[in-house]
């Protein structure tokens, strides 16, 4: 028995996990675009550009991670843009009033986000309202509450403690002009932590299970409602954290801050190979998606031939191209897997004895 088990596991060590394929594809696409841009732009491959991308990608990375978390369980969170706005504004207010340091500020932002996320989670998981309806609703609702709260006033950069605007530039260490900044490290740690949780923790596997087949998940006795609830809380908390990062970058926050980020986060996750139908994709993929989009944006600005107005047009086309490529590759692999599985099943052929039994059984019935 142990022998055949060994056979079964060694039989296909060449087997590539689908997630790895997606991530590798995207990494290759990013690499190719960097090379292309390096040809188009003088002095492109500099530490300065690296620093700029790693700083600016932070907000979308955090949002894409939260979005992916929710999409894995076959839901969607369209309210993240509004959560960013609310968290950034309230944190800004808090800092203006108290002049506190970074840790309380991050805490406030994250908690605000988590609370708003829990509203979504409650309505989706326990209210039985589809996520797209809930979050379209809260997208508007959170923004409205912010607008009422702000009364038209802005959080002003000048009123904030000075550390806030320097927060983005805090550098941990520098390698040949490539600065590793604190904000980027935070984003990377968050992504790595979530990646580990989703791949390794029971909790994470169950999130995938729900997205893969919700009714089977309920049947298997998984606590689907609480898992979905907590995934929305997670998405909200990450959006809150992103709100803090947004504040640190922008300084001045109006009631419309962060609008439109919801679709950008979905775009990053989807480009990163997160299936919109739930159940598959990785955090690393979502992160790469965010990096890809951000690199494109920042690079296109610097291509002299591309006016600033061309940027978005290009971006749309490139996102589409990435997704088409991903789909074509995935289809190829899918075909191979099912062929392999089918072959494995066929290989275990019927036994003559069992055959005779079935036929004999039929014979008895005829008699």
């Amino acid at each position: 028995m142990t022998e055949s088990a060994a056979v079964a596991t060694t039989r296909s060590t060449r087997f590539l996990r689908p997630e790895r394929v997606k991530e590798a594809t995207l990494l290759a696409i990013i690499a190719v675009s960097v090379v292309v841009f390096a040809f188009l732009i003088d002095g492109y491959l500099s530490g300065r550009f690296f620093n700029r991308v790693t700083t600016s990608v932070v907000v979308v990375t955090l949002l894409a991670a939260g979005q992916a978390l929710v999409i894995f369980s076959r839901n969607i969170d369209l309210s993240v843009g509004s959560i960013v706005g609310v968290a950034a504004y309230l944190t800004g207010d808090f800092l203006t009033a108290t002049g506190q340091g970074p840790i309380p500020a991050i805490l406030v932002a994250t908690v605000v986000g988590a609370v708003l996320g829990s509203v979504n989670g409650l309505l989706v998981a326990y209210g039985g309202v589809p996520a797209i309806i809930v979050t379209l609703g809260t997208l508007a609702l959170f923004r409205t509450l912010l607008s009422i709260y702000s009364g038209g006033a802005n959080v002003l950069a000048g009123d904030l403690p000075t550390w806030v605007l320097e927060f983005n530039n805090v550098t941990l260490f520098t390698i040949a002009g490539f600065e590793v900044r604190l904000v980027f490290l935070i984003a990377v740690v968050v992504v790595a932590g979530l990646q580990f949780a989703l791949a390794r923790l029971r909790w994470g596997r169950r999130i995938y299970a729900i997205g893969s087949n919700p009714s089977a998940a309920a049947q298997a006795g998984l606590p689907t409602a609480s898992l979905v609830f907590w995934s929305f809380v997670g998405s909200g908390a990450l959006a809150g954290l992103a709100g803090f990062m947004f504040l640190a970058r922008a300084g001045t926050i109006s009631a419309t801050a962060g609008a439109g980020l919801e679709l950008e986060s979905v775009a990053a996750a989807v480009v990163g190979g997160v299936s919109i139908l739930g159940g598959s994709g990785t955090m690393v993929g979502a992160f790469l998606g965010a990096v890809f989009i951000d690199t494109l944006k920042l690079s296109l600005v610097r291509v002299p031939e591309v006016s600033e107005f061309w940027r978005d047009a290009f971006l749309g086309i490139l996102i589409l191209a990435a997704v088409i490529l991903d789909t074509l590759l995935r289809n190829r692999f899918n075909r191979r897997w099912s062929a392999e599985a089918r072959k494995a099943m066929e290989a275990t052929g019927p036994t003559a004895a069992g055959m005779a039994h079935v036929a004999g059984g039929g014979g008895t019935a005829d008699a």
């Binding site: 087949n213 998940a217 899918n334 055959m355 008895t364």
Partner: protein, 497 residues
């Protein structure tokens, strides 16, 4: 104690839905190491009983005891914890998760961190015990229905269940897959599990059961050891009428060849398939699932157009690239997958009946003539005896048998010359099955050429004028009715001897 007590005892359990008494005072007990079959027509109360046993519904009255302890599960997960699991006709797997995760999710994956290595090893061990060679790391998405069921059985083993309910597990399987499933079930039996087995295929009952219980109209009719049961007695108890009019097909005069298929092939799937189909003939297609029977049908129907060979209908060569073109040429295909490919179940009965012929009911502005549509639908409904509250009833609310008839009627309304029936009686009860058989006979008599694909051997043999046997993508042979015995067909289908 030489005679062990029952694992589970169900006593006078009743359940009522609105006006319908689904179960009235049903009693049943399962012994350890017993394969106990439960039969009855759709609506006999089998599935209600299963749902009560697995905690999906509470019983209105009566009680259950599991190994002497009162048992009232609150959910299917609760039932599983207490030792009762169910496997359904359509297994519910997680397509994106690995086979191993599918086996262990929800019960043995305790602890915070997943130990992949141990999980894969455990999964391999269980699969090996079942004689299944599937890489436990593969995503379940690629598995066949049989493979998915194997995963569910593996799950039941890992759960260490004492009662395993199998609700029509063979409906989507080929003969050789059924054979392997039976071996797996017997090994469960050996380890002392009580198996409650539900099927519509009578010959399977005799092959696998120790005891057989019959339900009818929510009542328990009988429980007997298999030796004391005959097919006739069983059918009589199930339907409450005489079984003489089943498999009623008589001899047919032979018409001229209508469809000529010559050296047809789709690379990598099937090749060099040649046969004639005559007017008024029923040509049976036997073979294992995956042997290429359905693929030939899909190719004739334009879903996966052939890349070699020719198709000739009434002397004209056809090049069919889509179902639309196939229908225009007079070829209709009743799919084996009613839910995914056959019916738009959320739509009304009338919409489904006219789905393939909508253009016939539209004026030049594309507006549907609803009166004409309903009139035609009514004719079809009566002709096939579809039981439905009204023509506007969503098809999802009809029983399996009536859904199957609806699908048949839909294709009939296209006035096909060639009708391909893929597993037309899968998963429907004895009464509806007889209706469908009778109807196939009528259609053939009216001059339609019928290709009958079925994994139910007695059905193929009883209904067909000739039986074609497929194996691994090749047409092995075509046997005239007289020569088509179960042994000969099975031998050809698996390539034994």
């Amino acid at each position: 104690m030489s005679d062990p007590g029952p694992v589970i005892e169900i006593e006078r359990v009743s359940k009522r839905f609105d006006a319908t008494q689904a179960l009235s005072e049903v009693s049943l007990s399962l012994l350890p190491g017993e394969i106990h079959s439960l039969v009855g027509e759709n609506g006999a109360g089998k599935s209600t009983l299963i749902k009560i046993m697995t905690g999906l519904y509470p019983a209105d009255s009566g009680e259950m005891t599991l190994e002497g302890v009162p048992f009232a599960p609150r959910s299917s997960a609760d039932a599983q914890r207490q030792g009762i699991a169910a496997i359904y006709q359509e297994p519910s797997v997680f397509p994106d998760l690995s086979v191993a995760e599918n086996i262990f999710i929800g019960h043995q994956d305790q602890g915070l961190v997943v130990d992949w290595k141990t999980m894969y090893e455990e999964a391999s061990r269980i699969l090996a015990k079942l004689d299944i060679e599937i890489d436990p790391r593969l995503p379940a998405a690629g598995l066949t229905v049989a493979g998915q069921q194997a995963v569910e059985i593996a799950k039941a083993i890992s759960l260490d269940v004492r009662v395993l309910i199998m609700d029509e597990p063979t409906a989507a399987l080929s003969a050789h897959e059924v054979d392997r499933l039976f071996r797996q079930v017997r090994s469960l039996k050996q380890s002392g599990v009580a198996v409650l087995f539900i099927t519509h295929r009578l010959e399977e009952l005799f092959a696998i059961s120790d005891r057989i219980s019959v339900f009818r109209d929510g009542r328990h009719i009988s429980t007997r050891p298999v030796a004391e049961v005959t097919e006739e007695s069983l059918v009589r108890e199930m339907v409450g009428r005489d079984p003489s009019d089943f498999f009623a097909r008589g001899e047919h005069p032979e018409g001229e060849a209508l469809l000529k298929v010559d050296s047809l092939g789709v690379s990598g799937v099937f090749s060099d398939v040649t046969f004639d189909l005559r007017r008024g003939e029923v040509l049976g297609f036997a073979g294992l699932v995956g042997s290429g029977r359905t693929d030939i049908a899909l190719s004739l129907f334009g879903v996966h157009p052939a890349d070699s060979g020719t198709i000739e209908l009434e002397g004209k060569t056809l090049d069919i690239r889509s179902p639309r073109e196939a229908l225009a040429s007079g070829i209709a295909y009743l799919s084996e997958d009613r839910r995914k490919l056959g019916l738009s179940v959320e739509q009304s009965l009338v919409a489904n009946l006219t789905l393939a012929t909508l253009d016939r009911y539209t004026n030049s502005f594309g507006i549907i003539d609803r009166e004409q549509e309903r009139a035609d639908a009514e004719v079809l409904r009566q002709r096939l005896g579809i039981r439905a509250p009204s023509l506007s009833t969503p098809v999802s609310q009809l029983s399996g048998g009536n859904q199957q008839k609806t699908m048949l009627a839909k294709w009939l309304n296209t006035h096909p010359k060639v009708l391909i029936l893929d597993e037309p009686t899968r998963g429907i009860d004895v009464g509806a099955k007889a209706d469908v058989h009778k109807f196939i006979d009528e259609l053939a008599t009216s001059g339609i050429a019928i290709m009958l694909i079925s994994s139910d051997l007695p059905e193929v043999i009883a209904m067909s004028d000739r039986v074609a046997v497929m194996r691994e993508g090749s047409l092995i042979g075509i046997y005239p009715r007289r020569e088509a015995t179960q042994e000969r067909i099975m031998t050809a289908a698996v390539g034994a001897r």
